[in-house]
């Protein structure tokens, strides 16, 4: 612990990693809450995996990976959103196709790129210890974009998430706000890929809000608590992984998953206790 604090004061990359974790937590708590209450987990998984296409293409053309990630995430979100609005009955099959197709395109471009392919692991499982100052700035911008959109359209997002048909009857453009919400999910996925990689994104997007939902009683409360939890998981994960030199992204996810299990067990016990005294 003291070693970690010592290292934190001397190593720039650790400071960057911590800030990256905190920045990702904002998007994770706010948008993750919508993912959980509107049950968009599978869609978010599809978007996250399809991002590999963008990362591969960006790598092949020697462009910044985050640029490719943002573009691929947006295209995947719009495609998946359009599919789920138009083809209700085959939604899962079609999302799976976008999911796998995105990954396949990414693998092809990465295979055709000369040089070593060590980056692939970083895309899949995160490279939080290599986040640059410039990337932090971009992450902050994405956060700002997400927060502005959610503050401006809080009512509409709530209505669309809660009761789409009623929202439509009140004259809300539900399809527009559904698509906008998916675009925000896409931006959040990009934020989180920096931290835990695209395979583990879905864990950070769903675990903190799910834990929070058991304790907070409003959508705003869940957003706030989920952001705090996510900040604790990323910070805790980085600290735990530092000394034994473990992969930070995987440690963060295991920590979040462990807390979810403990929280669920505690709630069960408490409820069981009530039943016992009754």
């Amino acid at each position: 612990m003291l070693d970690f604090i010592d290292a934190l004061t001397t190593h720039r990359f650790l400071q960057h990693a911590l800030v990256a974790g905190l920045l990702a937590s904002v998007g994770c708590g706010v948008i993750g809450t919508y993912v959980v209450v509107k049950r968009l987990g599978y869609l978010a998984g599809g978007i996250a995996h399809a991002v590999l296409a963008g990362l591969g293409v960006a790598r092949f053309y020697d462009k910044p990976p985050i640029l490719g990630a943002v573009m691929a995430a947006m295209i995947a979100a719009l495609l998946i959103g359009w599919i789920s609005l138009r083809a209700k009955q085959h939604e899962d099959t079609l999302i799976s196709s976008v999911w796998a197709l995105g990954m396949a395109i990414g693998v092809l471009f990465i295979a055709r790129t000369p040089g070593y392919n060590t980056d692939l692991m970083a895309y899949l499982f995160g490279n939080i210890l290599f986040v640059s100052g410039q990337q932090l700035l971009l992450m902050a911008c994405l956060d700002l974009l997400i927060l502005v959109a959610v503050v401006l359209f809080y009512k509409q997002f709530l209505a669309v998430a809660f009761d789409e048909e009623f929202a439509r009857a009140r004259g809300i453009h539900t399809e527009f706000f559904y698509m906008l919400l998916l675009c925000l999910v896409a931006l959040t996925v990009v934020l989180l890929i920096q931290v835990v990689g695209l395979i583990l994104v879905i864990a950070l997007l769903s675990l903190p809000p799910t834990i929070a939902a058991a304790y907070a009683h409003s959508v705003k409360g869940i957003m706030f608590l989920a952001s705090l939890l996510s900040a604790a998981f990323t910070t805790g994960g980085i600290m735990l992984s530092y000394q034994p030199d473990l992969p930070a992204g995987a440690t963060i996810v295991v920590l979040a998953g462990g807390c979810f299990l403990v929280s669920t067990a505690l709630l069960r016990m408490r409820r069981g206790g009530y039943r016992g005294t009754a």
């Binding site: 009512k155 009761d163 048909e165 009623f166 009857a169 004259g171 809300i172 409003s218």
Partner: protein, 242 residues
């Protein structure tokens, strides 16, 4: 005679297969309490969705307060069947009723002070003030139904449209809800879909029997002949006095 608020002229509709509604003509006047009854899949919910502009007729014309359905629906308070949302959604009574202000309040940011006053009235009218801070999942079926009515009232409608408001609640609660609707009927036109023809006949001023085609009756004219034509089988009418 009171003014006509909603008209259906020769309206037909299908979801792509056989027609769900065929040449429906209907005029609803202000102050009416119209009960729409009929068998399952007889087109009751479809009729409401057309009224709200959520569906477009295959042929025929619908007007709501002199406008198209999509424009006129701003003046309709809509209570869907409460299966359209998840019971465990993290929302309290007050927040749910507040959503009725959508379309009336400012589009960006939070609600205005004026909205809170209107919601206060809607909560009072539906007797929800004591449970205003409670989560939806803690409510009884009757309370939840009153939340939906409250949410519809918060949009300050001229017409209240309810889809099976008593489908999931017990008989005593059913009476509570209809007593509330009767009270609201003093200032609002009410259209209510129900499968329970016997029960609603004590409350409504007119009954529309819908099974692909539509016939209207006044409650006193409801004979077993009319009901048999609707359900296409023998139905026994049990006389019941309130």
């Amino acid at each position: 005679m009171n003014e006509v608020q909603i008209t259906f002229e020769q309206v037909s509709f299908s979801y792509g297969g056989p027609p769900v509604l065929e040449r429906v003509n209907l005029e609803i006047r202000s102050g009416e309490f119209l009960g729409v009854v009929g068998p399952n899949a007889g087109g009751k919910t479809t009729l409401l969705k057309l009224m709200l502009g959520l569906l477009k007729p295959s042929s025929g014309k619908i007007t709501v307060l002199g406008k198209t359905a999509a424009k006129g629906r701003q003046l309709i308070g809509y209570c869907p069947q409460h299966v359209t949302f998840a019971r465990d959604f993290p929302l309290c009574v007050e927040e749910a009723v507040m959503l009725g202000r959508l379309g009336k309040t400012q589009p960006l940011g939070g609600y205005r002070k004026e909205d809170r006053g209107i919601v206060e009235q809607a909560l009072a009218a539906t007797e929800l003030l004591p449970v205003r801070k409670q989560r939806l999942e803690t409510l009884s079926g009757g309370q939840l139904q009153r939340v939906l009515v409250g949410r519809a009232l918060a949009s300050q409608p001229e017409i209240l449209v309810l889809d099976e408001p008593t489908a999931n609640i017990d008989l005593r609660m059913e009476e509570d809800i209809f007593d509330l609707l009767k009270k609201l009927n003093r200032r609002l036109t009410i259209v209510v879909v129900s499968h329970d023809i016997g029960f609603i006949s004590g409350y409504v001023t007119r009954v529309a029997c819908l099974n692909r085609t539509l016939f209207c009756h006044y409650p006193s004219e409801l004979t077993s002949d009319a009901i048999e034509r609707l359900y296409r089988r023998h139905v026994s009418l049990i006389e019941h006095l309130h």
